[in-house]
């Protein structure tokens, strides 16, 4: 006969055993309260504060702040930088994940490490690299001056810095996803006579679409919100080389708090929309039941 203890493991545990299997209601309540307090203090209160400070002087002032021409110039530049950086890094992410996930080649791990590098470089250093390359004293500085091309303290520098800091997002999302899916479907398509682009657009892309979208959204959030790297290369020329985060800094340092928080509230709204669409994508992907639920990356969003 089997010892009865083994039968009792899951459901019919003795009262004494189940008391040892779960925290008392008091402890559970206490833990929930501390967790809520911590998240409330660090996440909820700041979000409320941004909107409270932005609207502190009334809705009319708020409208004046966000329709200010300088604010609009900063919004335009932010959108331009993201509109260049995100598609570039998306194409790169697709190419890199196709090569890394579908093929075997020597040096693959080195390539993976290099792709991750921008996550572990301080934003200030990211900006500094481009100053060392293209600044007046930089490697190509002299050549650029004689040809009258401005990169640092101009829009191209901002775009370059943005591309660098958002570099890994799409690739990091797609590589593990494609690796998990394997090559079977692509190889089947190949034997049925499909060409390379046909396989890519008809088989691979539909399989990774949610992961791709997820990576693009996170890439975009970082591209629009980057501060340190862009700050180094921008030169802070108002109306010309100010992105939204830089504009927030200038307004704040000039003690124009309502204006600073007004522009900041737009960026906060972007962050909240990003989080919401991320969630929506996760639900859709789960609902479809495909093997492509975006994973919770550990290294993302540095």
């Amino acid at each position: 006969m089997m010892p009865s203890v083994r039968h009792d493991r899951r459901s019919g545990a003795t009262p004494a055993l189940s008391a040892n299997l779960q925290e008392s209601r008091l402890i559970a309540g206490l833990l929930i309260a501390v967790a809520l307090g911590y998240l409330g203090l660090f996440l909820v209160v700041p979000v409320i504060a941004v909107f409270a400070k932005a609207l502190a002087k009334g809705v009319a002032t708020y409208w004046a702040v966000i329709s200010d021409p300088m604010a609009w110039a900063s919004i335009r530049l932010t959108v331009i930088a993201a509109a260049i950086a995100v598609p570039l890094n998306t194409v790169f992410g697709l190419a890199a994940s196709w090569a890394i996930a579908k093929f075997d080649f020597p040096g693959k791990n080195v390539l993976l490490t290099v792709i991750d590098l921008p996550f572990s470089v301080s934003p200030v250093i990211s900006g500094m690299m481009f100053v060392l390359l293209f600044g007046a004293q930089g490697l190509f500085g002299g050549w650029l001056i004689t040809h009258d091309i401005k990169i640092i303290f101009a829009v191209p520098g901002i775009v370059l810095a943005t591309v660098f800091v958002t570099f890994p997002f799409v690739a990091r999302e797609l590589i593990p996803l494609m690796q998990a899916q394997g090559n079977d479907e692509e190889e089947a398509a190949r034997t049925l006579g499909a060409g390379g682009w046909q396989i890519f657009f008809r088989v691979t892309l539909p399989n990774v679409k949610w992961g791709l979208l997820y990576g693009v959204i996170m890439c975009n959030a970082r591209a629009m919100g980057e501060f340190g790297a862009v700050s180094v290369v921008s030169g802070h020329i108002r109306g010309l080389t100010n992105t939204m985060p830089l504009h927030v800094e200038i307004l704040y340092n000039e003690y124009q708090f309502a204006s600073a928080f007004g522009v900041a509230s737009l960026l906060t709204l972007l962050a909240l929309v990003t989080l919401a669409s991320r969630r929506a994508i996760e639900w859709r992907a789960t609902a479809e039941g495909v093997r492509q639920q975006p994973r919770q990356t550990q290294k993302e969003d540095r």
Partner: protein
């Protein structure tokens, strides 16, 4: 392994994909990063030494490392608690809160910086009460710890969450049936299993905090020797066009980041091996 490489490639497009990838990576990552190394070779040893070990630079490393450590530590403790609550308990608003954990990833650092400063300044919503207790948060090292705690918040939670979700409940049941109290089970059975993930989350938060700039500079006060973080020191040297000095300090900061990255990778390999070893059970 070698044989797998020799088998003919069935799928097309490898040349195009790897060619584009390598070009892109070289142009945007390898060449810019190697510029830092190239620039540093033009600095004489004595100048390098003088910059990297100047009292002001040393004070900034102490502050950056210390504040990053405490921020990551706070996140390790509370992150474990938050993960436990999010995975094990049901309560209203849980999903919303779970989604909000990633806010520091999505919120621009400058916005976090000005908001935290406004909250913790001596006339702010939270700062005024700290002021009554005689605690100065904004424009002091404590403020830096607060900012770094904010930006590192998601790392521990997101690394622990999958591990705790897939935790083998039979181990807890076995411990309980052998007479362990709930606390003993947690301390002796659950926590040792979570430790590699907890350490990884801690290291990721620490590494992120070390290079952080945007959220810190508003709240720090930025006084040399007292509240000046290392990335800010690099920024100041760049603004003074002291590119050699900036490069020297950047090189040291990069070195610290890479040592951390290496540690994290080793940890994750261990984490992967653990998962593999327990693969049969779960």
């Amino acid at each position: 392994m070698l044989r797998a490489r020799r088998t003919p490639r069935v799928l097309p497009g490898f040349g195009l994909a790897i060619g584009f990838t390598l070009c892109y990576v070289s142009l945007l990552v390898l060449i810019p990063l190697s510029t830092v190394l190239l620039k540093s070779t033009t600095i004489s040893w004595s100048a390098f030494w003088g910059t990297v070990f100047s009292p002001r630079a040393l004070a900034s490393y102490r502050l950056s490392l210390g504040a990053s450590f405490f921020g990551a530590l706070i996140n390790a403790v509370f992150g474990l608690l938050v993960t436990w609550v999010l995975v094990r308990y049901q309560f209203p608003g849980k999903r919303l809160l779970d989604g909000l954990v990633d806010l520091p990833f999505a919120l621009p650092t400058a916005v976090a910086g000005i908001t935290l400063t406004t909250l913790y300044a001596s006339n702010g919503w939270i700062g005024q009460y700290l002021d009554l207790l005689g605690v100065k948060a904004a424009y002091a090292p404590l403020g830096i710890v607060i900012a770094l705690t904010f930006i590192g918040l998601p790392f521990v939670v997101r690394t622990l969450e999958p591990v705790l979700q897939s935790f083998d409940a039979t181990m807890e049941e076995a411990a309980a049936s052998l007479g362990a109290s709930r606390w003993q089970t947690f301390w002796r059975v659950i926590l040792p299993e979570l430790r590699p993930a907890l350490l990884t989350g801690f290291a990721l938060a620490f590494a992120r905090a070390l290079g952080e700039y945007g959220s810190v500079i508003f709240i720090a006060g930025n006084m040399p020797m007292r509240t000046e973080i290392t990335p800010l020191l690099i920024m100041i040297k760049l603004e003074q066009f002291d590119y050699a000095g900036a490069t020297a300090i950047a090189l040291l900061l990069l070195l610290m980041s890479f040592v951390l990255l290496l540690g994290i990778n080793l940890l994750q390999k261990r984490l992967g091996r653990l998962a593999l070893a327990e693969g049969g059970g779960t």
